[in-house]
Every structure is written in C-alpha cells, then in structure tokens.
C-alpha cells in the first residue's frame, strides 16, 4: 500500500441552486479541485463519483459517465465509477479512490460527490431520503428516516438522561459554525428556543433538528504521496480510511443508541493511522439529524457513551472546545446534498489542515477526522487526514 495525499479540493456552494443541474454541479466542483491541484486533464487516471439517488431525483442513472463527459474527460476514456451508499456515498467514493491510488493501480484520481435534490418536491425528497432505510420492513410501515432518528433520540434520552435541550444544542452550535462558512446553505445563527419551538417533524425532533434538502457538489484530487509535492506545497496525507457496515434496518440491532459501524470504522481507522481519538482536533461528522452528531461523537471515542449531549451543551464540540465538530456547519447548516456530503467533509478538513479556513480556522490543526454515514448507520466511513 502506498501513501496517498489530497492535492486539490473544490466545491460548490450548498443550497437551493435553481439554475444548476447535476452536471453543472459536478463539473464546477471537479474543475475547481483540478485547478486547485494545478493538474491538466490528461493527468487524471480515474474518476469516482458519490451519488445517492440521481435516478429518483432527476431520473438519470449512469451519472459517473455523465460527469466524466461534461468534465471533458470522455475523450480520454478514463474509468468513471459511481458509488452509492445512501448518505455515505461520498465518503465511500473517497475510500474507493483512495484504495485505487494506494494499491498502485492509479496515480491520480478525482473523487467527486454530487446530488441535485431540489428538482423534486419536499415530500418526495424526504421519501427518497427514506430509501436509505429498509423499504420492506421499515418504510412500508410508515417509518421515515426522521422517525427512525427520533426513536434513537427517544432511546438516548431514556437510557442516558440526555435532554431535549442538549440535542437541540447541536443545531445551535452547527448554525454558529455555518455562519462562518461562506459556502454554507445557512449562514445564520439560531438560538435554542428556535430549535425547541420549531414545528415537529418526528417527535421529539423538529424542523431545526433535520439537515436541509440541498443541491451541491464537492471534489478532491488524490495523488500518490511520492508525487504529491510536485503539485502542491501542502499535501494532506490520508492517514486512514476505514469502512464498516451494520444491519440495514435499525430494529435488527441490539442497541440503537450506538452505531456499531461508526465504532468499528473508527477503531479500524485509528489503528491504521496509529492515532487515538484524543489526538483529533477537528471532526466533520454526519449530523443529518441532531441526535446523530451526539451518537457520532460518542461512538468515535471523543466522549464516553451517554455524555455526548452534556459535552455538546458544555461547548466541548464547538470551535475552541476539546474537539471542534462540524466547523463547516455540518450537514445541518452547510447543507446536505446526499452524495456530496462525504466529500465536502474532506474538503473542510483539508481547508482546516492547510490553515485556509478563515474565521472558522481551528488553530494549529494537524489531525482531522471525517465520519460519513448512510441511512441509520448501515454504512459508515471514517477517514483521518493529517498534515503531511
């Protein structure tokens, strides 16, 4: 296995991008990343695209070839592969690209994540989101993805005494971070009462506990470490990228207050990198619902099980806290274009590790973690990036 670095990053703004199509989004992010890496098109060996549901959102499958085509790569006939794992599609595409370079099969790979979600109505978009759960044994019976996370929240409150306010604080904190991110969908701070008094979606979760529907794309360029410095003076090393699975249906697990896949992927990642959770200075975690961030910061080993709510309320996950979680604003405030999210997390980590994160910069950041989950955690990818 070769060492692999990220040498370029790019992304679109996240939000309701009415005048942009999926191909527009993919190209804008991809070209920005390629430009950032100072590459020429002919340098690229392969393209990986994370996308959850173009088939349902825009009735288009075969999107890897589409994006390769419109990025001007079709004439080079490079392999272009679409990866799907619901909300973890982006993180998984990144891992596949990483493996392709680490194995020596390719030298330079572009990994993109893109989702165009606002071409359908909100109700249908939520239904598409719920296809990440078990259609036959959860969704058919009336469960939505929000309702499954609501039941996780209820259970976390029951088992650990986590409060509604602690859960809500995740949204408050992520909006505060998002306000510092010029690419975030919501660059506006909110207070606790806004979250608590919002219309209910699935009790106890309300509108402000849910990540929004977004359009957007993000891309990174991967390169073998031995060649990385010929493109950039600030290569970011992929210290680890680990993946784990769990049962598709939430009810098939012995516990719902932990995502075993997050725990296992994190253990594998920390082992691969020879690092410990305490060494992580910043983390982008999958807060598709507020409660998911509390599970994540516990399952990643930042805080003991059951203490995630308290840690959040105490500011330990805010900028300046013990570990800065979701400095980008997270899925909640930066936005949540499904397939783009896992890649956008890495873009944020790279900006931070390069020291280019502006007002939300974590001082002297050298080690960052990204946790990207699909559905109710049936697929989780945990990656560790460090300054090379």
């Amino acid at each position: 296995m070769r060492e692999v670095a990220i040498i370029g990053i790019g992304g679109t703004k996240f939000g309701e991008l009415w005048d942009m199509s999926l191909r527009d989004l993919g190209i804008q992010a991809g070209l920005a990343a390629v430009a950032d890496a100072k590459l020429a098109a002919e340098d690229i060996d392969a393209l990986y695209v994370g996308n959850m549901s173009a088939g349902r959102f825009i009735e288009q499958e075969h999107v890897a070839a589409l994006i390769a085509d419109y990025s001007g790569l079709a004439r080079d006939n490079i392999p272009a592969t679409r990866i799907e794992a619901a909300g973890a599609s982006g993180g998984l595409a990144f891992r596949e690209g990483y493996l392709a370079v680490a194995s020596g099969m390719h030298d330079i790979v572009v990994v993109g994540g893109a989702e165009k979600m606002t071409d359908v109505g909100d109700v249908l978009a939520a239904e598409i989101q719920s296809t990440a759960a078990d259609q036959q044994w959860e969704v058919v019976f009336g469960a939505t993805l929000a309702s499954l996370f609501a039941m996780i929240a209820r259970r976390h409150m029951y088992e650990f005494g986590t409060t509604r306010e602690q859960i809500a604080q995740v949204a408050v904190k992520n909006h505060k971070h998002g306000a510092l991110n010029p690419n975030a969908q919501y660059q506006r701070e909110i207070d606790l009462s806004t979250v608590l008094n919002a219309s209910p979606v699935a009790e106890p979760l309300g509108v402000f506990d849910c990540a929004p529907l977004s359009d957007g794309a993000a891309a990174v360029v991967l390169c073998s470490m031995d060649r990385a410095r010929s493109y950039t003076s600030k290569p970011i090393r992929i210290a680890a990228s680990a993946q784990a699975s769990d049962t598709l249906a939430l009810h098939s697990r012995t516990t719902v207050t932990s995502f075993k896949a997050t725990q296992v992927a994190a253990q594998r990642a920390f082992r691969q990198a020879g690092r410990r959770p305490e060494q992580v200075q910043l983390a982008e975690v999958h807060d598709n619902f507020t409660i998911a961030e509390i599970l994540a910061i516990e399952d990643l080993g930042f805080f003991p099980k059951g203490q995630g709510g308290k840690a959040t309320m105490d500011g330990e996950t805010a900028l300046g806290g013990k570990v800065a979680v979701n400095t980008s604003g997270g899925l909640k405030a930066r936005g949540f274009p499904f397939g783009a999210t896992g890649v956008a997390q890495l873009v944020e980590l790279v900006e931070q590790l390069r020291g280019e994160a502006g007002k939300r910069q974590v001082p002297d950041a050298t080690l960052g973690l990204a946790q990207n989950a699909g559905g109710t955690g049936a697929t989780v990818v945990v990656s560790l990036l460090e300054v090379a």
């Binding site: 939505t144 979606v201 009790e203």
Partner: protein, 134 residues
Amino acid sequence: MATARFWRENPSRYNLKAVRCNNCGRVFFPPRGVCSVCHRKSIGKMECLNLKGEGEVFSFTVVHEAPSQFEILKPYMVVMVKMDEGVMLTSQLINSDPKDVKIGMRVKATLRRLGEDGPSGVIYYGYKFRPIEG
C-alpha cells in the same frame, strides 16, 4: 408493478412469519436462510414460526411530516416493538394517545391497510400495533 414485491412478503406481513435458529435459539424476522450469528452451523437448522404478535414498546415517535401515502394518517405514531420472542419490529401504533405511550408498554399486532399502488392499484395489508387493554 410492485405487486409481486409486496405479495411475496405476505406470510410475514399477515402472520408475522419468522425463523428460529435451532443452533442458538435466536429468532429472525423476516425469515432468512442462515443465522447471522451461527452462520454455516445453522444450515438446515432454521425453523419457521409465526410470532405470537405481542411485545413491548422499545421506542416511539409521532410522525408529523409523512410520505404522501401516509398523509391521511398524520400525525401518526411509529414504534419499535421488542416482540416476546426477542426480535424487534417497526410499525405504527394505533388506538393510542401519544401522551399515554411509554417505553415498555405492552402492545399487540393487528392487521391494517399499509398502503396501495394508487387508487386503481393493489392494496397492501400488514401488521400495526395497538395497546393491550388492561
């Protein structure tokens, strides 16, 4: 046509058909061919059974934003139920006021309409839960 996709699950939807691994005793729902714990040791030892339909609420929520199929039921309750056989199921809880529902509450499965393939399509039926009286 989604007709066959739903139809083939009817034994579990109507009568809670499950499977027990006679190597370890674990019950799986819906039925699966191999025990996910015992793996090959379970081959030939997976035995079908119908769950008795009773269990207790493991977690619950009230859904206010629902897919179009469930619009008319809003707000409705969704529960995870730990069945007496040890396996967990997700469905709706009916005949209950959310303020009376608690984790641990005893419930029983009953047959209701789950949805339909539009007004001229096939109607799907399956289990929902209701409180056990008393």
